[in-house]
């Protein structure tokens, strides 16, 4: 008699496919994972349908890894279904964790997005104008599309989430480490982010060049300076969010000579990533004079879009709006 292997599912919602690619980037290592589990639902690779999931007993899937944010009615239905069928639901990647890049859409009302894409776009010819319609009859043919909802939500704004794997996308090393935590030994506290609970600076290859105290009179945009490849980016005036961002990626973007943009979210105990990033950055301003502080802050061209790059839907300013 063979022991039953734990059942695992993967699913994606509003995302780019990068999280799926990241899993594939495990290359040979993925075969080791596949050998010890039974993948029961992974639309990208295996031919099991939603119908099959519906037929499974509740809580019969050991763990579901879900990437992507929630924007359409269909995505919400799938999230609820998989929650019900799974013992553990893991939000995989930035979009699922905190809303991600698609979450930037929450700066705009739903209808203005449709208006821009289908009517105002300069190459769009749509004089009538026509918008995609949830229930449309073309002659006698009924066609339906999922509802495009008012806003983007992180997974835990729709269903209960057990763990999070951060990153846009989670790098292969982060994935193997997170999976190791889940399969070996005791599970961490519910709600944990499966990545180191410390700031990115701690594993940055340039940490030794970070001054004891950074004092800035001006923030720089990447196109304004020739970026030194060895020195702390923050010390060069670039908006590196490393001090306010969770470690785990080993500073991949910094190794590319560009600042951290915060995709791994904040360390534990930070409720609002953007507010934390803003206060961290504001603390580096070298001035006591209010006018001057204002002038220095004005050199940050898009504070909300920068500090909430991946976490607008999960932010305190948005979380209150009707879910």
């Amino acid at each position: 008699m063979t022991l039953e292997r734990p059942k695992i599912a993967f699913y994606w919602c509003a995302s780019c496919g990068g999280c799926e690619e990241a899993v594939v980037d495990l290359a040979e290592e993925i075969l080791d994972v596949v050998a010890v589990v039974d993948i029961v639902f992974w639309p990208v690779a295996l031919d099991f349908k939603r119908h099959d999931v519906e037929q499974m007993p509740d809580a019969s899937i050991a763990a579901t890894f879900l990437n992507g944010a929630i924007r359409t009615s269909e995505q919400e239905e799938m999230a609820r279904l998989l929650r019900r069928k799974s013992k553990l639901l893991i939000a995989f990647g930035s979009c699922s964790h905190t809303g991600g890049i698609p979450g930037l859409a929450n700066f705009f009302p739903r209808d203005s997005i449709l208006q821009q894409v289908y009517v105002d776009a300069p190459t769009t010819e749509n004089p009538d104008p026509i918008l995609p319609t949830e229930n449309y009859r073309d002659g006698g043919r009924n066609l339906s599309l999922p509802h495009f909802s008012e806003r983007v939500r992180a997974l835990d704004q729709v269903v209960d989430v057990d763990y999070y794997v951060p990153g846009c996308p989670p790098l292969p090393k982060m994935i193997t480490r997170a999976v190791a935590i889940l399969v070996n030994g005791q599970l961490p506290e519910k709600g944990s982010v499966l990545a180191p609970d410390r700031a990115l600076c701690s594993e940055c290859p340039r940490k030794d060049s970070k001054p004891e105290k950074i004092a800035l009179k001006q923030f720089r945009r990447p196109q304004e300076i020739l970026i030194d490849e060895t020195q702390c980016l923050l010390a060069q005036g670039l908006l590196c969010l490393g001090p306010a961002t969770r470690a785990g990626c080993e500073a991949a973007c910094v190794k590319g000579n560009m600042p951290c943009t915060g995709c791994c979210g904040a360390p534990e105990r930070v409720r609002d990533q953007g507010a934390k990033a803003l206060s961290t950055i504001a603390g580096l301003i070298d001035s006591e004079d209010e006018m001057e502080i204002e002038r220095i802050l004005a050199t940050i061209p898009d504070p909300a879009g920068t500090f909430y790059r991946y976490s607008l839907p999960a932010s305190l300013m948005q979380a209150k709006r009707g879910i």
């Binding site: 780019c16 639309p43 705009f108 995609p132 996308p169 560009m258 061209p301």
Partner: protein
Amino acid sequence: MSNVTVPLEKAWQHSAERAEDEYHHRRITIDPITRLEGHGKIEVFLDDAGEVDRAYLQVPELRGFEKFVQGRPVEEMPQITSRICGVCPMAHHMAATKALDAVYHVVVPAAARKIRELVYTTFMVEDHSLHFYYLGGPDFVLGPDAPAAQRNILGVIEKVGLDRAKEVIRMRRHLRELIALVAGKAIHPVFGVPGGVVKRFTPEMQRLFQAAAEDAVVFATSTLRLFDEAVLDRRDYLDLITSDDYSHRTYYMGVVDEANHVNFYDGQIRVVTTQAVEWKRFSAGDYAGVIAEHVEPWSYAKFCFLKPLGWRGFVDGDETSLYSVAPLARLNAADGMATPLAQQEYRRFFEKLGGKPVHHTLANHWARLIEMLYAAERMRELAADNQLLDPEFRALPTATPTEGVGVVEAPRGTLIHHYQTDQHGIVQRANLIVATQNNAARMAMSVEKAARGLIHRGEVPEGVLNRIEMAFRAYDPCNACATHALPGAMPLMLTVRNREGLVRASLTRSADGHILRSEGR
């Protein structure tokens, strides 16, 4: 309930028409069409004789990038827009970076152009090889009639041998590591800035790229030989490729260099007619005079067409205003390849398939391999160029940012990014023509044609699943591009409904690849 009163007679007539319509248009749903529920579905409607009336290829999702990039600093576009697609993030990153050059009116130093193109061609080798071995290739390497359970990467491994399969995996991994070495990350790179790249190219990098390029040329050449043996030497496969079922006569678009050779990184956009005669050749900045997008109420995706010709619907042939992009289109739109080995293959391609243009959608698979060879050869040329090491790899922009357009050839076709900013470089407006969108209308026609060829008198044969898959896969559509995963069996489900919407019959594929039919009550 609406408060508007409708005259009784009119309401009656309306509901009568509706009932009549319902009766005459039975519906077949294939959902999802590719790998994923929620990212594409096909609806097939039958007329009262049980023949295909219309088939719709629907994209049921929208994220709205063109709106939410408004207000963002334009230099963030290469990183924000790469999140459109995690399978081809490099294409978006590069199109956006080139648009930034134009927005800031900055001349990119030669070293930076070469670094960018080197990384880009490396990406093309990796992406094209992946499509062939993991996704589209299995249809041919194993044959379209092979059981679906074998038509995936594992089946390919069996056929070509484990050593070769390991070589594919190793090659892909190595190329992606090289991309990350220069660009920060393979998925969502960070190296593009207006006026160049942010990181110096080192002699060590050059050595690695040179060695990898040599391997890539050998790899691409041997892959083409594999295609010869598995496909071109077989009459039945050739007949399949050239059959009318898989052909559409449309215009073709692709980026070309000064000599009208295929170029992925830079050049003018060329469009040829259904007879392969040059119809337009224009700079990226003039795209809005040539390309327009049509909206249908039944899909969140827009359909591109040639603006001067006007939207003429989903028709091919002499009356069409549709064009196609991606490998086959690029070969049709160009006069040749810029590298010697690829040029030989280019000639052979058109000789074997009856001259230009080739309208056979399935020929995309062969065209993709020829492009892979070109990318590998171009990678080798660039990697040998010591100008890569030039310390001047960035020009700091000095002009006030305004507006700019960037174009590249993504693996899946022409990709255009267009930004307008205020004087501080904050995006006011963005417009994106995404590769797969250019092919959307032709893809919809291909799907409909496959359905028409197989569904008669209300009978839905099991083969319709494979045929629609094949028609769809040849384009390597972006809303299916993560089918680059293993194993490659595409999940498909086809449901035939009666007029009350109840399931009459459904076809699904079991985990072992057999097609299961279940009859409804």
